[in-house]
Point group: C2
Chain length 307, copies 2
């Protein structure tokens, strides 16, 4: 079943201990779409500038990602420049140029309206809400956010959370959103804000799924998926969005979103996150096969299962 | 099969957000012994002062822990005072009084010499080596260390590592010992120093087992065990030593140390570490039943397994 995703499509200049890349194709919606495209149909809502050309368009087309909702505006695309020279776990931002993204007003093509799954990538919660309200009939809505919105746009974010089934954030964000350092207490608080499931991403330590007692998906209330220890993390940019793409893409590919499907989705999230880190930008995500993905899924199982 | 453990038996004064305790029974060998005692026979080598009385002795006796090797010296026992008020993951040390421990010269009772398993808890590597050399015929030797020995007593520690089968340390220690921030690269470097297996403890994120290619125990080279997310961490003191006790105690209880036994041992390590955090000092470890332990083992399985 198809996923509509709204978020950024951008250019990134990235420096890591492994090297440097100028103006790679990036943005949360790009990483998410590519990762999810191995599991299901994906439709993107975003805005790009005149620097987004055929080469970038071709990356989406090669994965059958619907780009009808990518609006072309006058000016330049969102641009981010950052480095991970001291700490691979945290980007140091040098430049953020919103460019055409500053005036982004998401428009949903009619052909997207039968999407049963909606992913609200990390953008202004006002825009997330606007998209959510235009797609009231979706089966499952997931979303991401970041410390900036949690800290300075809390009211708008709380409105978004009321309409979310699944929130995916990292440890720091979960603790900040809940105002609690204890992960379980933080999870309870976040689930009380609306989402029926919370995925907390722990970077190199994996991720934890928390599900509320009155969740649509009954069963285990807590599940831990590993991350794959990597010999070399070439570029962690987009790993979280790729996790979300693998997680939600797999869920959308399943006839029913059972507790078992949620567990496997957590593994597929970790799988796609690990691939994303192996090359710069979306390089690795562009050239995967479903066979490689399923091989790594088996590796994740071996990494965690007693027998 | 019996484990001999050498390490500290001490008194701890601890403050955490959950409260305060004065002079609880503590020390790495105490936590290790109690945790391991639920799986196998344990024999302790340590030194205590005149403040170690019948009440403390009774704690060991209640778990059939052999205290013949606990030497009584004139003076006071090792004393540590610390708090975890700002960060539950890292103790702030206020006082460390070595007392009788300053002149500790481990003596191994003859009745300990048929122990097939040896655990060298975190003490001066010179002492760890002395004990190791006096028990050349043990089947499996595991050990712990800490940043202080890694940084300032490296040569002595490297000698210990040559005689270890399994090293258990935390992330920071692994990275410091190897001089690498990447966990896999660090594991390779540490395994090249002698141990055939390395357990890296990640605190609330669990632990990873790395096994060298030429290990006695063939099979998977990497295994991740979770930690149990706890609603309240009352006191994290001794969690790592309790992990080691559960891990090594379980291994020692098995007829063969197969790859499957190592995996289950990682889970039992996590189980005992999680219990340790639920009450102050060794309170929780003193009053467990094997049934509670196995129930929690099942919980760890549910927390991580796809089906």
């Amino acid at each position: 079943m198809a996923i509509t995703v709204v978020g950024s499509v951008a250019f990134d200049s990235i420096e890591t201990p492994a090297g440097k890349r100028e103006r790679c194709l990036g943005g949360a919606a790009t990483y998410f779409s590519l990762a999810a495209s191995y599991f299901t149909d994906v439709r993107v809502i975003a805005v790009v500038g005149e620097d987004f050309g055929r080469r970038q368009e071709a990356v989406f087309q090669a994965h059958n990602i619907d780009t009808l909702g990518i609006e072309r505006a006058k000016g330049k695309s969102f641009f981010w420049e950052g480095s991970y020279l001291e700490d691979l776990n945290e980007a140091k931002t040098h430049i953020t140029d919103l460019n055409v993204f500053a005036a982004f007003d998401p428009k949903i093509p009619d052909s997207y309206r039968d999407s049963e799954f909606l992913f609200l990538a990390n953008i202004d919660p006002v825009l997330q809400r606007r998209v959510r309200e235009q797609m009231p009939d979706v089966k499952l809505v997931a979303g991401d956010t970041m410390n900036y919105w949690i800290k300075d746009h809390r009211e708008a974010l709380l409105e978004v959370l009321k309409g979310l089934d699944i929130l995916l954030i990292n440890d720091t964000e979960a603790r900040m959103l809940a105002g609690s350092n204890n992960l379980i207490q933080a999870a309870h608080s976040v689930l009380a804000l609306g989402p029926e499931a919370l995925v907390v991403k722990h970077g190199e330590y994996g991720a934890t799924l928390f599900q509320g007692a009155d969740s649509k998906v009954h069963g285990a209330s807590c599940f831990r998926a590993p991350a794959l220890p990597l010999e070399e993390v070439v570029d962690p940019t987009g790993a979280g969005d790729s996790f979300a793409g693998g997680f939600f893409g797999y869920l959308a590919s399943q006839p029913e979103q059972t507790p078992a499907a949620f567990r496997r989705a957590m593994f597929y999230g970790g799988v796609m996150g690990s691939f994303a880190c192996e090359r710069f930008g979306t390089e690795r995500l562009q050239k995967l096969t479903r066979e490689e993905i399923d091989e790594r899924f088996i590796l994740f199982r071996e990494l965690t299962h007693l027998d």
